[in-house]
Each structure stands twice: as C-alpha cells, then as structure tokens.
C-alpha cells in the first residue's frame, strides 16, 4: 500500500501531485490510498519518494476538468475512481470519449451530481438581512449536497457585488466584502440570523402562486428534494398547502357558476367590438378596405396568416402593380412588397424610369399562404378558388384606384386580374384592354428572378423584366 496525503477533502492539487507520483512509481490502482489530513510521513507511508514526474507525462484537459468536479463529490472512493481513470488513460488515451465505459460513466454521473448540487445551491440559498453598526449585511446558512461552496460562491459575487454577504455551510464559509471573495472555516446554523421580515411576504407569494387543482408532489420533490427543506422558509407551507388542495379544488368544481357582476357588465357593453364580416359591405375608401379585410373569411387563408395585406401607394395612381400574395416579411409588416422580391421590383422600376410614387402596389391574394417548417414558413401557391375568393378585394381596390395600366407579376396575379389562366411567358409584352378601360400587361414575378439558379439566365431574365416595364411606362 502506498498512501498519498491531501490537505483537505477538496484538495485537487494535492490529489494531482500524489496521483502523478504514484503513477510514476508504477503503483497499481488497487494499491494506492488517498488520505485526507496531515500525515507526518509526507506523501508515502513506505518506500522512498519517487523521482519527480517526467515532462512527457500528460493528462488530457478533459480529465482535469472532470476530476475537478468529481473530487467535490461526497463519496469516499472518489479519489480511487479518479486514480483508476488516470491509470487507464495511459493505455487508452481516448478513454474519456467512451462514455459507456463503467468507470467513465461512473465519473460522469458523479460530476453530474456535483454540478446539480451547485445549481441547487444557486437556487436554494436564502439570504437574511441584518443591520450591523456599519450598515446592512446579508447572511445565508446552507447545506450543499456536495462540497460545492468554492465552486459556486463566485456566482453570488457576480450577482450581488453591491451587497456585503456571507454564505455559511458545514464545509466552510464564503465571505464577500464588496471587492474580494474569501473562504473561511466551517460554520454552524446558529451563526446565521434566524429570521427576516420579508420572508412572510415570500411565503405569501409561494402559497398564492400555487394552484391547488394541479397537485404534482412527485415532480416537486424531484426538483426540490427534502434534504433542502430545512433551509427554505417556504417549505414549511408544503404540508398544509398539500393537505388542503383537494378540498379547495372540489369546492371550486362544485360551486355553482356565480352571477356576473352587473356594474362591470355595463362598462363592457360600451367597449364590445364587432368583428363580424358583412357580405354586403362595400368599402368606400382604401383605409376602410384595409380594415375590413382583417375580418374577411371568404377563404381559409386568414387562419394561419398574421393579417390581411392590402395595397399601398398613391390613391389615384395611374399604374397598379399586382403581385401574387404577401410573403413572410409582408405578412409580419402588413405592407406589400417589403421583402426580397420587393427590393428586386423597386430596383427594376428605377431602371425602367417608373416613379414608385406613381404606382399602387398590391397582391391578387391578401393573406399569406404558407406551410410551417420548423422556424420558417414555406411559401405555397394559392389555389384557384382562393384567388377567386380574393378577387372581391382586388376588384374593390381597382374600383377605388382606377388605374390606367395594370401590370401583373406572375401567373396568380394574371389570374386574379383577368379572371382566366394565361401562360405568362407567352402573354408577356402584349397589352390586353379590359372592360373597365384598364390596359393589362403581364410580366413574371420578381421572386422568379431570385429563384433562377443560373447566373447568366438570371441576368438575361432581369433585363427582360426591366424591358417589359419600360413598355409599361410608354403606356402611362
């Protein structure tokens, strides 16, 4: 048996020095003993001191991190487990990655318990305030599940740097003086204050935020184990709250519905809103139309969209530009053509010499049709029935704006405006005169330009897009 002596229970440096020396001396895991406390004979009980560890001796960083956590575990055999791992690392340098290995799994489990104990300490420390001659002090008594005081105290220094606090535990104490954190000897419960006036408020809050209809004791105990209850002022209420819960729930369930409060009911009738959509309604201004579309239920597209997006632009614009439907960004912003396709359109308009001020921009369908895919929404082409349903709104916009020329962008827009299907690539460039006198020119949708994978094709198509817009300008 070879014995290495550590200064205290969490003396990692001492353990490391001892373990290195033992390993250097070829002491097998079963033969090495780690002992806490002063030992007159130094590192080894028998045999000469081994030579200092050679320089080539290397332990992976991951092992050091793991060992620093495991050593805080309250189990007696933690030093031996760590030594066994260190020993095995020589022959199996990748050992720590094999998390299914019995020793590795054991060490990881203990590290997890330690980290949990540290987390619970952050959660369950309760400071009590005392008035000292030179100002206020904050003191907590706490019993951590593992020896995590030194590991966890810096958290409190970051959180409460302007308070003078100390945390007393059976393992030691931590004191923050406003600038530095120091650690002192173990403490006892009676060294901490026994009450704090705000605790009554806290208990009131705890009792009131509890919903008796949802008793789930097991979950509560799993997360707030009984071992901590002693030092939690609110835990004193658990028994009573639990005991009353079923009676309280049954009273609520059994109570007859009460008569509504009349005084307030009167106030209500004044602010009741009516969102019903009236089929016979005809909007007389664009503002009215923009509000009314929010209540539209002519097709199901309103359901998953944020809002109906109506046209925007000059009220008596000579040119109306009709797209397909609002996209993701338009749906959120409530304005047409603000996303990437809108940018393409804006640039093309400038190039074609068309002032955006002269145009009224809108869509054939007012709600965004899409499919959710994780955190994104994927555009879906509206059905003919949806375009037809929404034509009611497009026609209303046409009646109010009375444009001379209408440009349709893409097949859906053409369908919305012309009420029949056309092939855009064949129809583009032609001027179709409508019964109301408006002249319609079909063009592709700018999103189509964005989707073209081939650079050369994109440039060519874009040029054509602008050319077709120039033709429109000539009609204005």
């Amino acid at each position: 048996m070879r014995v290495a002596t550590l200064a205290n229970e969490t003396d990692f440096d001492g353990w490391r020095a001892g373990a290195r020396a033992l390993r250097q001396a070829g002491v097998q895991p079963g033969e090495a003993v780690f002992r806490v406390g002063r030992s007159a004979s130094g590192l080894f009980d028998d045999g000469p001191l081994p030579p200092p560890p050679d320089a080539g001796f290397h332990t992976p960083r991951a092992f050091v991190d793991l060992a620093q956590a495991v050593i805080l575990h309250r189990s007696e055999d933690r030093f031996d487990l760590l030594y066994r791992l260190l020993w095995r690392l020589k022959a199996e340098p990748d050992l720590l990655r094999v998390v299914t290995d019995v020793d590795v799994a054991d060490a990881l489990e203990r590290a997890k318990n330690v980290s949990r104990a540290s987390h619970k300490m952050k959660a369950f420390v309760r400071f009590r305030r005392i008035e000292a001659a030179d100002g206020e002090r904050w003191v907590a008594w706490f019993e951590p599940a593992h020896r995590v005081l030194e590991r966890t105290a810096p958290f409190f220094a970051r959180r409460f740097p302007t308070m003078l606090w100390s945390i007393l535990t059976p393992d030691g104490s931590a004191v923050w003086d406003g600038e530095t954190l120091t650690f002192g000897p173990p403490a006892t419960r009676d060294m901490a204050p026994s009450e704090d006036e705000v605790e009554e408020f806290w208990k009131t809050y705890y009792a009131s935020t509890f919903n008796p209809a949802r008793l789930k004791l097991k979950t509560m105990q799993g997360e707030m184990p009984k071992r901590y209850w002693n030092n939690l002022p609110e835990a004193a209420l658990i028994r009573e709250l639990t005991a009353q819960s079923s009676a309280r729930t049954e009273t609520m369930v059994a109570a007859p519905a009460s008569a509504p409060n009349l005084r307030l009911a009167k106030t209500l009738s004044r602010i009741g809103r009516d969102h019903a959509f009236d089929e016979g309604f005809v909007p007389s201004t664009l503002e009215e139309l923009g509000q009314a579309v929010q209540a539209c239920r002519r097709c199901p597209l309103w359901r998953d969209a944020t809002q109906g997006v109506c046209g925007a632009g000059a009220k008596q614009a000579p040119l109306m530009i009709v797209g397909e439907q609002p996209g993701d960004q338009e749906d959120l912003a409530g304005r047409p053509f603000v996303g990437p396709a809108g940018q393409v359109l804006d640039e093309a308009l400038v190039e074609a010499g068309i002032d955006r001020e002269d145009a009224f921009v809108t869509n054939a369908v007012k709600h965004f049709k899409h499919e959710p895919r994780g955190k994104r929404r994927i555009h879906r082409t509206p059905l003919v029935s949806e375009v037809s349903a929404c034509r009611w709104w497009l026609d209303a916009e046409r009646r109010l704006v009375r444009p001379k020329v209408i440009v349709t962008l893409g097949a859906t827009a053409a369908l919305g405006v012309l009420n029949r299907k056309i092939t855009v690539t064949q129809a583009r460039g032609a001027v179709l005169t409508q019964p109301d006198g408006a002249r319609v020119v079909a063009n592709v949708h700018p999103a189509y330009l964005l989707r073209l994978p081939d650079e050369a094709a994109r440039i060519a198509e874009r040029r054509r897009f602008v050319e077709d817009l120039k033709l429109v300008r000539a009609l204005l």
Binding site: M163, S208, H275, D331
Partner: protein
Amino acid sequence: MAVLDLRRKLAVLADAAKYDASCASSGTSKRDSIGGKGVGSTEGMGICHAYTPDGRCVSLLKILLTNFCIYDCVYCINRASSNVQRARFSVDEVVELTLNFYKRNYIEGLFLSSGIIRSGDYTMEQLVLVAKKLREEHDFRGYIHLKLIPEADPRLVEEAGLYADRLSANIELPRDEALKRLAPQKDVGVIKQAMGRVRLKVEAARPAKKDRAKPPKFAPAGQSTQLIIGADGASDTEIVDRSASLYAGYGLRRVYYSAFSPIPDSSSALPLSKPPLMREHRLYQADWLMRFYGFSSAEIGDAANDGMLDLAIDPKLAWALNSRAQFPVDVNTGAREMLLRVPGLGVKSVNRILQVRRWRTLRLEDIGRLCRGIHKVRPFITALDWTPGGLTDAADLRARMTPSVQPVQLSLF
C-alpha cells in the same frame, strides 16, 4: 374601498397571475452586476428557486400590476364580470418587492402582467414604467418578462423590448372562433400582428456581421405564448398544428400549454372539472418532438386517434408503434435522424451514441448505460449483441410497453 395592505395585495395579485404557465428565466443574454450600481445576473440557464406542490417552478415573481380589467374573457378569473377581490400595486411597490425578493435570492426576476385598465396604451405604459425604473434607477440586471398588451401602440411595445428580456402575448384559445366567443373584446388578428412586430424587432436587433456596430438590444430572450387546453373543444392535432404555425411565424421560443383549470367564481360557459393534466403533458411531449426531434405536426397527427394523442403512452412511442417498418435501427450505423426517432432515446443519448461509436462497437448494455431504461428502447434497435427478432412486430408490443398502473402519488410525510 378599504385600502389593502401590501401582503394582502400580493396574495390577490399573485393568485390572479398564476394561470399563466410561463416561468422561464433562460435563454437571455449573459450579464452580471460586476461594476454596476445594483444587483442581478443572468447566465444562460434559468434557475428555479422553489417548487410549489403543483410541481411548477418558481423562478420569477409572477404578478399582475392589477387585476381590475375592462375585458370579459370568460376563462379568466380577472374578467370584468367576476366577483373576485380586486387590488392594484403602485409602480414603486412592484419595484420594491422585486428588489427585496431578488436580494434574498428568492427569484431570478420579474414577470409582470396586468388586467386592462382604462386602455391598452395606458396599461402597457404602466408595465413599461416598472421595467424602466428597475433598469434605469436601480441598475437591475436580473430577468424581466413583460406581458404585451396587443392593442397598445407599437411604440410602447418597442420601448418594452428595450428593458425586457422576454415579451409575450397569449393566444389562449387554439380555435380563433372560440376566442371570439369567449373573449369578445380580444382580437386574434391584433395579437398576431403584435407578435409579428416583435419578431421583426428581434431580428433587426440581431447583429448582422461581426464588424458592424451592435444594434440596441431588443427582448434577447424572444417571445412566447400560451394556449389553454380543454376550454374550447379543440383537438390535440388542431393544437399541435396551431403551435407549428406559431413557431414558424413568430420565431417563438416556447408555446406553453395550460390545462384549463377550474377557477373560483367561474362562468357557466366553461367546463368545470379537474384540469386535464395528462393531456397537457402529452402536448408538451409532442411540442418537444417538433422542436428537437425533427417531427412535423403531420407526423404527430398520424400517431393520434381521432385527433387526440394517446394518453397511455407518449407520442414518440405511439408514432414508432405505427411506423414499425422503419425499425429496428442499428445503433452502430443508423443515421442521427432515425436514432432520434427511437422511443426512449433522448437528444443527449443520441449524441453520446454517435460519439462513442467512433471508438467502440456498441452492445445492448452500453445503450442501457446511455438511456433511462433499456426496456423501451430494445424493440426498436439492433446492437452488436442484440437483434429484437419478432419483438419489433409483435402484436402485443403496445400492451407490453404501456405502463401497467399509473404510478401512485408519492406520499410526502
């Protein structure tokens, strides 16, 4: 009206706020108070400072500024026509209470909501004022969650985002038609528009490139919402579809599901029964599958019966039992996406399997060490020393995998 003392007000306004399930204090920017004039820190992971016997975590001081309300949402204890006792905090009272609780390490911060008083604008203004005081006068750096009043002026929402870590507006009822019936003054369109604006703001605040100047922070912990389960007749698949649409549309961090709970002084328009807690639990599991396991809402719908999730087994197991042709998966060669679909294997277990199998060929006992219970996993995998044989397709597999008795509530004392 008698003046209520502060403790009584706290009791009333905490009670009034408890039906909102949200409690998270996680996912915000990392900060501490070193060099500051006050207290407070956030370090990524949320902290639950206590648990009530309902198993819910107490992380934030969750209160209403007031439970007076001019709206009359039938499912809500604070609705105008309810006879519940009313109270109102002053802005300073909330600020003081928050700091007093925080300094004693009871909470991570504040979750402040309110009934609608006077108008949406006025109410939102009051909420913002509390957050502003905490941040500016007290240099408070803990967590703040503010409820959005959807009807309020967008500029107030913008201001709220400067002080708050998280903003939330509750959709409450999965069916829009039901919201109209049960919350006549609310408008789902207005709520969605408010959420849409928040998403645009949050995205605009994200630094585009490293070298660019940082835009001002806006609600770094994003936004969330809540759906009440069991008040409007919506099926589980309707609810799951609704969530999928909300996650995709507004970049929500979380959708909370809250089993409709009987309230004192309740309205005759609602079911009076114990809250469907198991149903709520299954919906959370389904939500999890969508967010972390690559399931679509349609796939979850496939595993449901008449639109309802199986209450006896979890939705992942239900899906696997319906999709047995895709199993067993070889743990030594299977793709990550498929391993994630094995019942009983969580994201962490799968990551560990992928790590270890580069160094060792896995046996069944290795898998046992990586997951909570090998019993559930076994029929769906093959390993070096294990094939499930006919087990995967056994007719009675569902029966074998169903926990025989519901675990008895643990006795406390």
